[in-house]
Symmetry: C2
């Protein structure tokens, strides 16, 4: 054994983050049940035992993945949608572009698919995802729509349902990409999908002639 290179190093600061990062990859690739702790440990560059220095259980690691990987990205979009000074069509175009960027630069899609797939077995996780991600996004979007309705920029209707109409195709695109493209389906071109959908929604949401203020 060479004296110069230690077998391992003590790095208690950096470990948790590295483990979460490795776990994100493995969970995204295999799903919760099929992800093996040995593989997470290997990719994080530690032994399996080391995982238990920082996390209680496999489920605990899963929770950390969801919280750390996603929640930070939501604040940004939320803040953007809260801006009241921009005409709705422009606001929608901006928000959609931002969402598109987040999807393309993070593993958000994979995590979303993961949460949906495992929600039955981990209801608490579904609750976290709902409260900290989906619900906030939907509330921000509904809020913007409601204000736009009051200004007469958007036709009257349940703003929550309108928000569903806006967000739905994006979810479909993400799920398509994560689920069907890997098995040979033609890819869902997220960029043009978001753009065309946005323009269609702007047209579909435009107030009808003769609508009351």
């Amino acid at each position: 054994m060479q004296a110069g290179s230690p077998k391992w190093r003590r790095r208690s600061e950096a470990r948790p983050g590295e483990i979460v990062q490795a776990a994100l990859e493995v969970f995204a690739e295999r799903g919760f049940a099929a992800a093996k702790l040995d593989e997470i440990a290997r990719r994080a560059g530690v032994s399996k035992g080391a995982l238990y220095l920082y996390f209680e259980t496999k489920e605990d690691i899963f929770r950390a993945v969801v919280r750390e990987a996603v929640v930070p990205n939501i604040d940004m979009v939320e803040a953007m949608l809260a801006q009241a000074t921009i005409p709705f069509p422009d606001l929608l175009r901006l928000a959609l572009a931002r969402i598109e960027t987040v999807i393309e630069t993070t593993r958000l899609g994979a995590v979303a698919k993961l949460v949906v797939g495992e929600s039955r077995n981990f209801p608490e996780l579904a609750r976290v995802w709902h409260d900290e991600v989906v619900s906030r996004m939907l509330a921000a979007m509904s809020g913007a729509l409601e204000r736009a309705q009051m200004r007469g920029e958007v036709r009257l209707g349940d703003p929550r349902l309108q928000a569903f109409s806006i967000m739905g195709p994006i979810l479909l695109g993400v799920i398509w990409q994560e689920t069907f493209t890997p098995v040979g389906a033609p890819p869902a071109p997220l960029k043009s999908l978001v753009r065309q959908h946005g323009e269609m929604m702007i047209a579909g949401l435009a107030p009808r002639v003769g609508d009351p203020q």
Copy 2:
């Protein structure tokens, strides 16, 4: 032991269907990995060994579930969308109403969620679902849109992307119902969602003034 009531009966005709039915329930509740063959057997009223008289493996049962539970419903919607004589807005309203009925009267939503969740571990299953369900639905919808564009009833644009815009919110509604409603989120009112989304899409798809034929 009483002579009058046999411990079990030979019912080789009815078994496979009963097993598939039971498996659908258990898979929908637990996901593939967490579903136990013992429980499927119990709900089907047989022993675990009997499952292997009719199916090779657990995966085999999963496949049978997907094929039997869903595929028959697709033909109907596909045929409806192929009708060329109806003005597009009416056609869309009819098709959406039909889809809504299928979702409400079958476990299609649960199976969809299941396939999405397990697609990484069972790519062949994702392929079956894509080829026999999603792709066909999308093709039927795109076809109707393309014909409507040629008749000048719908604004020009990539019909496949327009189909994504139409189908996306429905998927979102279904996933919402299967994922978040069980953990305390407000339900996604599928009926009104579909209706409002349909009207919005009809408005958003209407040809712009001055568009070429």
